[in-house]
Amino acid sequence: MATTEFDDAQNAEIVAHTGGRVSEEETFVIPQGVKPPRKSVWAVFKEMPLLVKISTIWLVVLLLSALYAQLDVRVFNGSLPLADPNLQLNGFNPKTGEFGTGSVLESPSWQHPLGTDALARDTFSRALHGTYVSVVVAIVSVTCGVIVGGLLGSLVGFVRGKTETGLMAMIDVLLAFPALVLLLALISIFEVRDLFVISFVIGLLSIPAYTRVSRANSLAISNREFVTAAEAIGTKKWTILRREIIPNVMPTLFAYAMVAAAAVIVVEGTLSFLGLSVQLPTSTWGNMINQARRDIKVDFGQVLYPALLLTFTVLALNQVGDFFQRRSAHRASSL
């Protein structure tokens, strides 16, 4: 029997699971479950419809520009070609020796691609720095949701029993609050409002929804034949969870995470619009919109640019999320 190293290892594991009662010679050729070949990122990208492709590119560009803005401030001390986001009219930045050159509410020009705001700060630069806040909040929330919510949901959906009843009752109570109101109440308790606290609270509040989604999927998968088969040959519960349940819950959860990230970005935008997110002068899309709306009669553009950034980002995340949702539904039906 010509086997690769991988096959040997898997056979050995199966032997171990059956308590070694099946000797090496008696083992039949173990059918190697038909695994769809793992597709490269590029192959998945080529599969996407045009609109989803554009959305993906948009998201990647956002991520890179947020990184660029942070690199400029943290590593290069503002020496990369990007205006200082906080330099006001007649302001002076001792670090770079730059003087504020803009005037109040300029229209777009080469020097200020999106014009300047009411304090003569460069809107393009502020928007890039605001992107960083949205990106961090989204990533923290998705990480919390997928790791904590995903694992909890997979676990209770598979194990069932009292653990499930207890946990889901707690989740139901948390979801019984209108999300934004609970978030506002929590935020109002913390006196320090920095990016860490804001993303932590939002991340914490994302966990219930993720738990619910992954539990529903875990329930469905636990009833499938391959799980029953694994149980029949005496595989340990923990191993089934790790090798059968979680890998099959994750694709759906990943698709959900995209859509949830869009919602979280809107929530952060709403908070900073209300002045309850990261403190000024740190720019976020929400507080840019809030500041610019006072001059709406003079310059609608200053409201429009951050508003379009926010809307396009949400649209892009929804498109990409829907695409992966369709893909994972297709995958689940062919398991």
């Binding site: 934004l180 109101v181 809107v266």
Partner: protein, 315 residues
């Protein structure tokens, strides 16, 4: 059926207890001395610390305090603000009608728009009308309500000058002045709901249109319009009702930001003011009130569902 209703009511009580407990705990378990949190760092009038301690029974054990607070809350006593001295319950009862009006108006608008859009999408499934309405839904779902609100202000207040950008006229000042100030915020709130509702109606209708009784109605020679709105729309109303109940939560959250944007004296605006002023008791009161409302509305929807749906009613 009686069993279903009993179960729903039991769950209501359990959820209410849990929700109130959580809201109470959030404030009561604040790090540090609650008196310091309530009073902040400003100068303190003499004797107020002792008064707060006595008012909130801060020397009692935590559970005793919760039971006392809950007992007061049930009888409508949520304490008084330490900043304005006004009873929290009074603030809520003054502000509630405004928020309720906004919520109902926006649901009314969303249903009014969503029914034709959803029915059209299902009737012309796969045709350009369907694609257009789906694209519209996608875009509507992606525009945050406060951005849409600002856009409405820019268009109707700044450019066209038809409606005021902010302010609020009460219903008692007359219907037309009230509508002038409530139209824009209600529309801003309705956008997301419209999209959700029409998507639901479309998918529901597509399923319904494949039923045999639609085929027989068509065979009888009834007009398409009659079949769509009289025969096919009815069965979708149950799921529409459920989603309306669920979207109340999003709506109550949405009123917070829309009321702030349009400077409307509703519950949400006073919640934001309370947060900015660190008026802890008012924050607690409004939060618990909104959460309880939300839980009750969802339960009522569940109950109606149990009563109206023949499949559940007969079981």
């Amino acid at each position: 059926m009686v069993k279903t209703i009993a179960f729903i009511l039991l769950r209501l009580i359990a959820t209410l207890l849990a929700v109130t407990f959580l809201t109470f705990a959030m404030v009561a378990l604040l790090p540090g001395d609650p008196v310091d949190t309530i009073l902040g760092t400003g100068p303190r009038p003499p004797g107020i610390e002792e008064q707060i301690r006595a008012d909130l029974h801060l020397d009692d054990p935590f559970l005793v305090r919760y039971v006392n607070w809950l007992g007061d809350a049930v009888t409508g006593d949520l304490g008084s603000s330490y900043i304005t001295d006004q009873p929290v319950a009074d603030t809520i009862s003054q502000r509630l009608p405004v928020t309720a009006q906004l919520a109902f108006m926006s649901i009314f608008i969303s249903v009014l728009v969503a029914i034709p859009v959803g029915v059209m999408g299902a009737y012309r499934q796969g045709k350009w009308q369907d694609s257009a309405s789906s694209a519209g839904v996608q875009i509507a779902l992606s525009i945050p309500n406060f951005i849409f609100g600002i856009f409405l202000i820019w268009l109707f207040a700044v450019k066209l000058g038809w409606l005021p950008a902010s302010n609020w006229n009460r219903l008692s000042d007359g219907v037309v002045p009230n509508l002038k100030t409530s139209m824009l915020p209600a529309f801003a709130l309705a956008l997301g709901q419209m999209a959700v509702f029409s998507r639901l109606i479309r998918s529901d209708m597509i399923a319904t249109l494949q039923e045999n009784y639609i085929l027989s109605a068509r065979a009888k020679g009834l007009s398409d319009r009659y079949i769509l709105f009289r025969h096919a729309l009815r069965p979708s109303s149950l799921s529409l009702m459920t989603i309306i109940g669920i979207s109340f939560g999003a709506l109550l959250g949405g009123t917070v930001v829309i009321e702030t944007l349009f400077a409307i004296p509703g519950l949400g605006f006073s919640l934001i003011n309370a947060i900015n002023g660190r008026d802890i008791l008012l924050i607690q009161g409004i939060t618990v009130f909104i959460a309880v409302m939300f839980v009750i509305i969802n339960t009522v929807v569940d109950l109606l569902y149990a009563v109206l749906d023949p499949r559940i009613r007969r079981s």
